[in-house]
Subunit: 250 residues, 4 copies
């Protein structure tokens, strides 16, 4: 692993798995299972192990987005992977894209966007949320995400950059939409997320007024299948509604 | 636009939209609406227009994955964006990942993977499918996808490379799974796609025998919401079942 | 079978099943497969057969609601069995209940209600629909259904009878609801059916203003599972949204 | 109300509703809110009130199936109203039908069947469950339900009666199915309920071997819609999978 690289250290104790995401450096990691010299990770590769001063063995992995998702600090209900996946697939997000995102919240969607796109600019109106998101984005080792504190409804008017994809998860998305075409490349995608029908209807009305095309609103449900010795069946418990995703194209 | 870059030319005629994906070059594009000198695209940017020798105006866009998806040649029912999105989100696919994929089919999933990942190696047992996939991948301008003709059940035994993510959409995925850990980094993700319960049960049995963790099988349904002057409601028509996605971690 | 009783005659010809619903009487049934004397059914029981003058054999059954449903004449999209089932179960409809129903439409829901309840009074504003519904109800052999032509919004004000269950499938259900408690026994059930969200929201607002309790709105989806030699899976095609059902109690 | 008739007495205390289902008789009902002479109900009609000796007022209603469902004693997870509704609608259950049911369990489905059909014969192999079901059926005031303790797999061979509808909610339904045609009228319906895929597949195989027609397996999901001042949306929590319903016709 390289200096500065993120490493996931994983160990199990009494059938319970414990994980730590650390940076290769001259620091130490202090755990209940002993101290690890992080400089000792430098000559390791994923799959190797490292041992604490108390003799506890940790396996070395590269942390992945689902790890960052699990470890992220949250300011509210984050967008779920299923909805994030839909936005990525329907906007065709790829490594050449520059993305405009708002509101950041705790930065969960932002992190996924940043792990794929070339660059992400994200706006959040609440200062404290920006702080949480900044921590999450840094912890995920992303250096291509620019967090800005400000109201996207106002800020979008002053942007002099164009984007490939714009993602909105704000209460007033409908007020942002009239300005979207000015900063979205022709053929670029707008994706909005909205929990309620009324809100989604307003978004659709704003999109219609702004003359987008390939407009589509949908809801994604994910249904777990359970396998046991008794048999196979759809899970008896499940995640319910999260939000509606609307996709539109400039 | 740069020479060799892909450009989407879009025009409308009698309320019908026509699209062409072309490469900036010294060639000509011949259309029903006249000829366009593709070299003339070199000094344009997205949003600009170009005019054919018959005077028809075309707007210039960067083509996106949904465009490539729509224009791709198909050998069978391709994996749908909803399922592709789930695989991307649940494996946390990102631009640093090296992916092993099989079976390629017409290469739809492969294209999405290639547009995000650092590199994709994909196996397809049928020679004719490899040809179709190669065309689709080239048309999408991807140069990080390596298409190989061969049976993954055999080929996986001879691979001396490790991968971050492995995606399997083959009839015999269950026979591939015992070999997956040898070529998957610890913490890396396996994602399988299988239309039937019986097949999915076999995959789960193979995964259990191979000692993966964070195992989860689910089905993703996408439900369109229709907005009209009559009112808002879930769409009365809809896409039904496609396949089950199983995620497991080495 | 008794004189006047309904009988389903079923035969198959070249792998195609043909059915006829007839009444035991002195009439004849003329079919492509010959003539049957309906008086000859009088000494038969379900499971017996009868032979046409051309020698074609017909098996004798008692027709059931699903048969009447399939044979009913339709004026529009009828309510589907899944939604009818939900209304029956959630109102606890039983043979002692007297039901008020509107708008009748082609009488599909009315037929199901009539086959279970003691008595059904149903209102339909369109004269031609009443005619279709009357035919369907008669064909189903129901003599406990009273079809009335009139606007339920007005007619409900003049009713001097009380009901156990009230079912509304009308565009202006919200205008009927303020009058429902006057004709519904305490503890009785109101069930409304409405395709759109906006309409359903209005119904909920009217219900709230009218001070009902045990209020619940839901949507019922039915998903077919297909079994074949290739394997088992949820059907790839399916019926989408039909309508929202709201249940409330006086 | 007539002597012997069931009455639901409802009162509220500190915003909490309390309900009692009683029989009109010479007995007394003792409650935390005082004593009620049940003979005093004889000259009342639904909607009237009765006052306890402590002055607490109770409103009088006719109890309905949803009330009996809520008050029933349970031996396990009962069949849910949504699934009961599907069975009623797809079998076209009506007041002329004679039904064979197994296994009774706590008798929830049996109660619904009994409230609609002419007569229900139900088998349960566990003696203690028969006791619970008997209590529930009696409490629901049903006198057309015959509860029998016995193993339906054996008992069905000795039945010399024919039925219009047969409902099976047993672990060994597949072993009952070969005998169903002997006791089901031609055109009659078989409905089975099975939580798991494997079980459902066995049922389908048995049905295919027994040469039924109009065979269909489905799953019914009910999705609640929530209305609040914040907006309208599908409920964020929901009931997951219960069981698969298979309908087949003799």
């Amino acid at each position: 692993m390289l200096t500065g690289e993120l490493v996931l250290l994983k160990t199990s104790h009494r059938d319970k798995v414990r994980e730590f995401i650390v940076k290769v450096s001259d620091d130490q990691l202090h755990t209940d299972f002993g101290i690890i010299e992080l400089s000792s990770l430098a000559d390791k590769v994923p799959g190797d192990t490292v041992v604490s001063h108390k003799g506890q063995e940790f396996t070395i992995q590269r942390p992945k987005m689902p790890d960052f998702f699990r470890h992220a600090k949250r300011t509210g209900a984050p967008m779920m992977p299923k909805d994030i996946g839909m936005i990525i697939a329907y906007t065709g997000l790829n490594k050449n894209d520059v993305v405009l995102d708002a509101g950041t919240g705790s930065g969960i969607l932002t992190m996924y966007l940043g792990s794929i796109a070339k660059r992400v600019v994200t706006y959040e109106v609440r200062d404290d949320f920006v702080g949480v998101a900044r921590k999450n984005v840094e912890n995920a080792g992303l250096d291509n995400v620019e967090l800005r504190c400000g109201d996207i409804v106002e800020e979008i008017k002053n942007l002099d950059e164009k984007f490939d994809v714009i993602t909105l998860d704000t209460q007033n998305s409908k007020d942002v939409i009239p300005h979207v075409r000015n900063v979205l490349y022709p053929g670029g995608f707008l994706a909005t997320y909205s929990p309620f029908f009324e809100q989604t209807k307003e978004i659709r009305d704003a999109i219609e007024a702004a003359n987008f095309y390939e407009v589509m609103t949908f809801e994604c449900s994910e249904r777990e299948i359970s396998f046991s010795s008794r048999g196979t069946r759809p899970s008896t418990s499940k995640v319910g509604h999260t939000g509606f995703i609307t996709i539109a194209r400039a």
